[in-house]
């Protein structure tokens, strides 16, 4: 059994490798720096589309958040913010493995003494740091350009909610990446499953508009719970007491998903080692 010193001696060097991944992806992103501009433009175009759509939505059908009724624009802006965190996090890990396999670096990574968990986190570490910045830019632009009213004091609560959601994103990403590692051309199927999960999260419309049975099922979606909490904090201005119980449930579900994802990724790689097809794409 490992003692604390052994765990520390194994853990710290692995953590230091994350900065190598971070530097690698930052340099690669810098080499594609024009893409960052198009990303911001894309976000604004999306927000503009929802701005016009919001004029068609009856405010009476929008949910009450902390005693105030949210406007559709504010509702969807916060939804897009949190959902983007989820979507980018999930697709990045899957895309990274596919890309590494395609260019031939996947096996080169696997022959280094790097733990599978470090590889998983390494694939997404750059985005984990990038997305909050991107989210902040998006929120500032949305509030400035489209007049969305936000309780900025709720950002601390949103940060806690996002942190609680992080293992869920990691876990789902690891499960989907495991599917890509084991079965390769399943990206479209995985994309569909991912789309359903986002659709049933209340990103674009309140869940109570769904058929009752689907609304009940969707309500236990950790992404939906996180969205509710973020909206309550940013649009309703509710305090910590209102969001903490739900955040605790999100965190528990996240940890369970992360454990499943970690095992799925491990087993997918071991299966490939067994079949001898690790580097094939």
């Amino acid at each position: 059994m490992m003692d604390v010193a052994q765990v520390r001696s194994a853990f710290l060097p692995e953590m230091r490798k994350l900065s190598a991944f971070l530097r690698r992806d930052a340099l690669i992103a810098w080499s594609y720096r024009r893409g960052a501009v198009s990303d911001v433009v894309g976000m604004l175009v999306q927000a503009l589309m929802f701005y016009f759509l919001s004029s068609l939505v009856d405010p009476a059908r929008m949910p009450q958040l902390g005693g105030t009724r949210a406007g559709y624009m504010g509702f969807v802006v916060v939804g897009l913010t949190v959902a983007a965190f989820y979507q980018i996090g999930v697709t990045r890990m899957m895309g990274a493995v596919q890309n590494e396999r395609l260019v031939g670096t996947f096996e080169t990574l696997l022959v280094t003494p790097t733990a599978y968990a470090t590889l998983q986190l390494g694939f997404v570490i750059y985005d984990i740091l990038r997305i909050p910045v991107r989210t902040g830019i998006f929120l500032v632009l949305a509030t400035t350009l489209f007049g969305v009213q936000v309780h900025w004091a709720g950002m601390a609560q949103v940060a806690v909610i996002v942190l609680a959601l992080l293992p869920f994103v990691w876990g789902v990403a690891a499960v989907l990446t495991a599917a890509v590692v084991a079965f390769r051309q399943v990206a479209s199927l995985v994309g569909l499953a991912n789309f359903v999960l986002v659709l049933a999260s209340g990103t674009y419309f309140p869940l109570h508009l769904l058929p009752p049975w689907l609304a009940k099922t969707a309500a236990i979606n950790p992404l939906a719970m996180a969205l509710n909490g973020a909206r309550a904090a940013l649009l309703g201005g509710t305090g910590w007491a209102a969001i903490l119980p739900q955040t605790a449930v999100v965190f528990a579900m996240s940890i369970a998903t992360w454990i499943v994802g970690t095992f799925a990724f491990h087993f997918a790689l071991e299966r490939e080692r067994h079949t001898g097809t690790l580097g094939l794409y």
Binding site: A20, R23, S31, V103, T105, E107, P113
Partner: protein, 325 residues
Amino acid sequence: MRRVHTAVDPAVEVRGLSRHFGTRTALRDVSISVSRGEIHSLLGPNGAGKTTLLRILAGLTRPSAGTAHVLGLDILHQTAVVRGLVGVIPPGDRTFYQRLSGLENLIFFGRLYGLGFRDAMRRARETLEAVGLTGQEHLMIGKYSQGMQKRLAIARALLTDPAVFLIDEATHNLDPEGARLVRELIRNAADRGAGVVWATQRVEEIRGFADTVTLLHRGEVRFTGTTAQLVSLASPTSFLLRIRNGGMAPELMTAQLRAALGGLGVIAPDAGADGEHYVMTVANGSTLGAAIGAISRADLQVLSCHETRPEIEQAFVELTEESPS
């Protein structure tokens, strides 16, 4: 119990290793042993099982049966530790990030091998210099030629000065000077005590370079021993002689040559039948020097003499020939 490697453990020890892919057998009951400081060549034609064996040793593929140890560590159960002690040079050309420079690629991989940033930077610069890529370090990999990428792969394997090298077709795509440089670097590493497994299908590459050879064919070991022992297995070698003709008819020349050689060998006009070129096989118990001496003493001038097929290549061909069914 986890085993810690010691200085007396062989670099690589493989016993009874087999690997099946469905009904196809890639390796059957393969055993090799490589000492520290030894360059061991895995020789064989395409599909012989060389890459599969290297992949098993690198922990990328699991064997179906048998055991494999690197520096005394079981590669199945201590894979992560083994990976930290081994430098792998893969056969592919594209094993780097195309949007990063050569230097940044090496720094990244160096850090995955546990080096701190400063050490990774220092070692990256040193190994870039060793493989002759100084001055090209800031160029994006996308602009590197295949040969430069191969040299960079060597630099990556040298980053941590590993105790074992697993090398697959390292000189493929390299010009003769580049190939010589790579062999020199690996020889230097072996001289410092590293064990090297060098897979190649090019026979001429291992002469004067590899200490020992395992010849694989269709997943089975056909020969294992020193390079000299492999050469000694070859059948008597043929030589292509160029004789000053002086306008003599080929039939007459052939008769004179045969008379001069006597029992020292057999000689016949080369297929081109230009009157100047003859193929000679030296008889068992005789020597090339004795045969040429006999021809010279008969006032026939030997202008040049070449092996029609080097002995080592001859041994390779004979050992990988299919038995008549």
